[in-house]
């Protein structure tokens, strides 16, 4: 069943902030097998011009995914989560997130469309620090496979 297209344009303001920690950055870098010292060593990060260790580029998926899940679980939207797949992902960075950042994320439903039996939802999240400075914009397309697709 096609999703309610009137959800297009909805904006989900930040519910809470996410504090980036050195430990979580290291844990994430270990999980993706990335040994880059700017994720682990404060001095190496400072030598590269950063105030503290920085987060790997896809680290933002942690808060992005939480936001996606809270939207797609909204019973009003009527999305069958078991039929949903992640279609694409884009990160556009103003600067890398670093340890000590308090991240705030505002998610927008940019588009909902029904095509060839499948639903497509385009979500955009604007991620800022506690002072409102822009860190990154993330864009994801989610695909919900139709019953006959």
């Amino acid at each position: 069943m096609p999703l309610d297209e009137s959800f297009t344009g909805r904006v989900y303001p930040p519910q809470t902030s996410y504090e980036v920690s050195r430990e979580k950055i290291r844990e994430f870098a270990d999980a993706i097998g990335d040994q880059n010292p700017v994720y682990r060593d404060v001095e190496a990060a400072k030598a590269a011009g950063h105030p503290d260790v920085i987060a790997p580029p896809t680290f933002l998926t942690i808060i992005n995914l939480a936001s996606i899940n809270s939207i797609v679980m909204d019973p009003e939207l009527g999305l069958d989560y078991s039929r949903m797949v992640h279609g694409d992902q884009q990160f556009s960075y103003t600067r890398p997130a670093h340890a000590g950042d308090e991240l705030l994320l505002t998610t927008h439903i940019d588009r909902i469309m029904f095509r060839a039996g499948n639903d497509f939802i385009n979500l955009r999240a604007e991620i800022t620090d506690a002072d409102g400075g822009h860190i990154a914009t993330t864009r994801a397309q989610l695909v919900v496979r139709g019953e006959n697709a």
Partner: protein, 132 residues
């Protein structure tokens, strides 16, 4: 830097234990990434790697080459084919190559990646924009 320059290629092994570790680190607990019975029930060939893990691994070709990942300004990919990860010590292997695709006037370069597993392309149009 010139258009066509190749970045050092990378070959990364992804095993089941790494999927569990990534699930915990990324807080992505979808059972298709760790529960073989569930994955097969929903029509997948096996447990599959998180698309975001494959993307993270692919990005290393760019950030290893840059040294400072802070020069990355944009990173995108489509998830076109799942990477099945068998329950073996060998797991799955992801092969990443990249080259300079374009140099823009504003000091930004586009890096085009090719990401394959088992000889097949798994990410669609994986691309990075970097500050030169």
């Amino acid at each position: 830097m010139n258009v066509g320059d190749e970045l050092p290629a990378l070959e990364v092994r992804i095993t089941r234990d790494q999927l569990v570790r990534y699930a915990g680190a990324a807080l992505d607990f979808n059972p298709i990434h760790w529960n073989e019975a569930f994955a097969k029930e929903v029509g997948l060939p096996d447990v599959i790697a998180h698309g975001m893990l494959t993307m993270a691994v692919a990005g290393r070709v760019v950030t290893d080459w840059l040294g400072d990942p802070g020069r990355l300004v944009d990173f995108s990919a489509r998830f076109t084919r799942p990477v099945a990860v068998p329950n073996t010590p060998e797991g799955a292997v992801v092969e990443i190559t990249g080259k300079v695709g374009a140099l823009q006037d504003d000091g930004i370069a586009r890096i085009d990646l090719v990401v394959k597993s088992d000889g097949k392309t798994v990410l669609g149009k994986p691309q990075a924009l970097i500050r030169v």
